[in-house]
């Protein structure tokens, strides 16, 4: 599985959120997407997940252009948002059952219970999602994507809502996905955490990629580039 991004740009009215982004992701990449607020991280993730379409440029997955109407490509992309993207008035189990069935996968109800147990929601499987905390909704989203098994998983700041166990759960899932040849791209501000297991880091600033390197020890170039957008007191 390879993802190629060429001359990607996205404008919201007169504001260019992304400018001429060129990237390539290959099997097993676990990418930390970093940058200050408004750098274009979420826009890049939404473009990669086809929730937005580019103003110019293109994204190709295994040589096939990501565009409207391409359901086959959508099946390989997952997007984990901290809000969970789940229906508040459905129970945890119903949410999983609905999304998995809608995506065309047949599932045994026992398998649903098993996955909910794995993410620590076994006791809340029949609870409405509206009664779950943000962290629990995020765990439910992890359960959803682990059932749907996307080959490319995009994550937008999931650390903020998860507790310690939740973070371990998420990271183990992401490591497992990358080991199986999947691609993970995570936008986050928790730099210390993501640097502990990512294989590559990207820094976006003002809609442009200012840093793109595989992880190495020591990583002086990363710390220099990253410090550029930190407040002066924190450098």
């Amino acid at each position: 599985m390879g993802v190629v991004v060429r001359q990607l740009a996205k404008a919201y009215g007169y504001l260019w959120a992304l400018k001429e982004v060129n990237l390539e992701f290959s099997d097993g990449d676990c990418v930390a997407l970093l940058g200050p607020n408004g750098a274009g991280k979420t826009t890049l993730l939404k473009l990669l997940s086809a929730l937005l379409y580019p103003t110019t440029g293109e994204i190709k997955i295994d040589g096939e252009r990501l565009r409207r109407g391409n359901s086959d490509l959508r099946a390989v992309i997952g997007f984990l948002s901290p809000d969970g993207q789940i229906y508040e008035t459905l129970t945890a189990k119903e949410n999983l059952h609905f999304f998995v069935s809608l995506c065309g996968k047949k599932i045994d109800p026992r398998e649903l219970d098993q996955v909910l147990d794995q993410v620590g929601l076994g006791d809340w499987s029949d609870t409405y999602a509206s009664s779950l905390s943000h962290g629990m909704k995020c765990r439910l989203a992890i359960a959803k994507w682990s059932l749907l098994q996307p080959k490319i998983l995009l994550l937008d700041e999931p650390y903020g809502v998860l507790d310690g166990t939740g973070i371990n759960l998420l990271e183990n899932y992401l490591k497992g996905l990358c080991e199986k040849g999947g691609i993970v791209v995570m936008a986050t501000h928790n730099v210390a955490r993501i640097l502990s297991f990512c294989t590559r880091a990207l820094i976006l600033q003002g809609g442009k990629i200012i840093f793109d390197e595989p992880r190495q020890e020591p990583w002086e170039s990363f710390h220099r580039s990253f410090a550029a957008f930190l407040p002066r007191d924190n450098r």
Partner: protein, 225 residues
């Protein structure tokens, strides 16, 4: 088969959420009933003119209650970014459109089943012997209203004043469906020759087919805009 399965699951979700939330249907029942009482107290219709005036009043009540449902049609999807969750699914966007049309149609039919007899009682109209024919024509009109209404409901989804905007763009375009249904009901209630009914039935069928097809084909561009 895939598209039918997708429609089934989307409809299952909408019905289950409506049963639990009881927001849209109860509001529609209440609003429809209030409108009928308002019409009843506002107009004194002589018995000989009832066949001319009843269809218009009845359809005004249906259109207003239906518009109320349309403004809430994608409300559950806008909560917790569920629309994004659906758009991430590898499903046919046309299935999403048809499921919403069916759900809206179901809500409107349930309201019509209550409003119809109530209107008959309030205005002392003998509906019962014309009921199959009346329901057939109302059925066609309701499909047209739902087909176009669902499309515009999705189109105004991200607009700031969608509740204001939706009727403004929907009502001018829905005129053929309203006109066809009202004229058809007049012919049935006036016990006129059924031959006169056919042009209006043809108009309604054409309206339904055109807007269901257009909606199915362009919904992807509308919902992902």
């Amino acid at each position: 088969m895939t598209i039918l399965r997708q429609i089934y699951w989307l409809l299952w979700k909408d019905i289950l959420l409506e049963i639990r939330r009881r927001e849209t249907l109860l509001s529609m029942f209440f609003f429809g009933t209030v409108l009928l009482f308002l019409f009843h107290f506002s107009f004194e219709i002589p018995p000989e003119r009832i066949a001319e005036m009843a269809p218009g009043l009845l359809w005004l009540a249906f259109v207003f209650t239906g518009t109320l449902a349309l403004t809430q049609l994608f409300h559950v999807e806008m909560e917790s970014q569920c629309l994004e969750a659906l758009l991430l699914c590898p499903m046919d966007r046309g299935a999403f459109y048809l499921s919403k049309v069916l759900f809206n149609f179901l809500l409107m039919v349930l309201v019509e089943l209550v409003v119809f007899p109530l209107f008959g009682i309030l205005f002392n109209i003998d509906f019962w012997r014309h009921l199959p024919a009346l329901f057939s024509i109302v059925f066609l009109g309701t499909i047209g209203f739902c087909a176009l209404g669902t499309l515009f409901s999705a189109l105004t989804l991200r607009a700031h004043a969608k509740e204001l905007l939706l009727p403004l763009i929907l009502f001018p375009l829905i005129i053929p469906a309203i006109l066809g249904t009202i004229r058809g009901m007049e012919i049935i209630l006036g016990a006129r020759d059924l031959q006169e009914l056919f042009p209006w039935v043809h108009l309604l069928i054409a309206f339904d087919v055109i807007f269901l097809t257009v909606g199915f084909l362009i919904f992807e561009w509308v919902i992902e805009a």
